[in-house]
Amino acid sequence: MFNLAGRVAIVTGGNRGIGLAIAEGLAKAGAAIVIAARDKAAGQEAAASLGASAMFIETDVTNPESCYAMVRGTEDRFGRLDILVNNAGIMRFGRAEETALADWQAVLDINLTGAFLCAQAAYPAMRRQKAGKIINISSLAAIFGTAAGAAYASSKGGLVQLTRSLAVSWGPDNIQVNAILPGYIESDLTRRAEVERPGAFDAKRARTPACRIGLPEDIAGAAIFLASDASSFITGTSLTVDGGYAIQL
């Protein structure tokens, strides 16, 4: 049902956290994996941990040239590109009135523009193959306002609209584009945030109907589904993976 044998996937920011869990999930389902990230050491280590059908390509998703090189490198090694997971992202906290333009820009550049540039770079290969899957890792911050994270929430909301637009635009090419909206997940990103601003884990757990914080592995299953033929009629949608957080007050 969720077999990805013979498929080739790029996971941006796949060297840790949710990205690594997705890369592991797709690999377990049979896909060859390209870990695309800035951090060379962590990226190579992650690729090595996935076995022989995985490689690391040093990538800066904010740089169009780097995104095209990422796709070229993938096709050179594996001969095709079936799945793009736009997962690379950063968080910067701060009240809106105190947010520096550089911080706002950095978040938008990586979280939103990065996904757009990677999708642009992946499109020619997917169109040629007359098939493709693009999965954008958004966030519940796309639905809810965030007092100390206007830039993050805006970037993730933008990602949902990018998802819809690409789905409509590339549907005739048989490219399905969907977003995953993870709830609060225990990852490197949120563990670091917990150090800076303690209490979020407890608060989120208390509000989650499933009574727990999500784990990166919880997101992998949704990515496998959206990367597989089992979801061939699903496009332009946003799948919340949040233990019911979005439907609770």
């Binding site: 819809r164 409509v168 109907p209 499933a210 299953g221 061939s232 332009g236 949608t237 233990g243 019911g244």
Partner: protein, 247 residues
């Protein structure tokens, strides 16, 4: 795929045709033992024969799921035959005619709400206690993109909004007890119900003009929502519409 639902027991309502039949077949192919309930018993028996023929296990049964006693009986018979209930797909429903026609016909409204909305409510009412006894479970309720928009016949649209609402409310209530409850929102699907609803129309009604899904396209999404891969997904109305809502 066979390993996905081995040792699981799934109850599918409206299993005699269309999406219900495709999903019952898919569950059986993935290793589950299946109860196939339908108001058309011959159709349920046909579904069971298809499953048995491929080496699966299926119990066909008559059930009018808008009737409390029969909804309860569908669960009781499943547990009597298979010992447990892990999965329920509350799929049975009717279209309620064409948009704009008989929108304020009271008999029609009551009938559509009784089957599409109350039928799902009754299903959950009797399925959840059995799942609690078994330590958890997964329920998928049949909604529609009409549950998220204003397309479709008035009563149908109202009933599908109700399904999404009760799905969310039940999901919040039972998430802490390992029961996940989601809804599925297909666009236009190539089923007997869709053919009847659109038969004889010069141009397809609004909301039915997009690409046509096969019942199997919906079945795979239902199986995903009931699988361990979806273990952190609950209260979600999963849209399977070929991108209609996105644009």
């Amino acid at each position: 795929m066979t390993a996905f639902f081995t040792a699981k027991v799934a109850l599918v309502t409206g299993a005699g045709s269309g999406i219900g039949r495709a999903t019952a077949l898919a569950f059986a192919a993935a290793g589950a033992r299946v109860s196939a309930a339908d108001i058309a018993i011959e159709a349920a028996e046909e579904t069971a024969a298809l499953i048995t023929h491929s080496g699966g296990t299926c119990l066909p049964m008559y059930a009018d799921i808008s009737d409390a006693e029969q909804a309860a009986a569908s669960v009781a018979k499943t547990v009597a035959a298979f010992g447990r209930l892990d999965i329920a797909f509350n799929n049975a429903g009717i279209s309620g005619g064409r948009p704009g026609q008989d929108d304020f016909d009271e008999i029609r409204y009551d009938r559509v709400m009784a089957i599409n909305a109350k039928g799902v409510w009754l299903g959950m009412k009797y399925q959840i206690p059995e799942m609690l006894r078994g330590g958890g479970g997964a329920i998928v309720n049949m909604a529609s993109i009409a549950g998220l928009t204003g397309v479709g016949a008035l009563a149908y649209t109202a009933s599908k909004h109700a399904v999404i609402g009760m799905t969310k409310a039940a999901a919040v209530r039972y998430a802490g007890e390992s029961i996940r409850i989601n809804a599925i929102c297909p666009g236009a699907v190539d089923t007997p119900m869709f053919a009847r609803a659109t038969a004889g129309t010069a141009s397809p009604p609004a909301g039915t003009t997009g690409p046509l899904a096969a019942p199997a396209d919906i079945a795979t999404a239902v199986l995903f929502l009931c699988s361990a891969e979806a273990r952190f997904i609950t209260g979600h109305p999963l849209v399977v519409d070929g991108g209609i809502l996105a644009g």
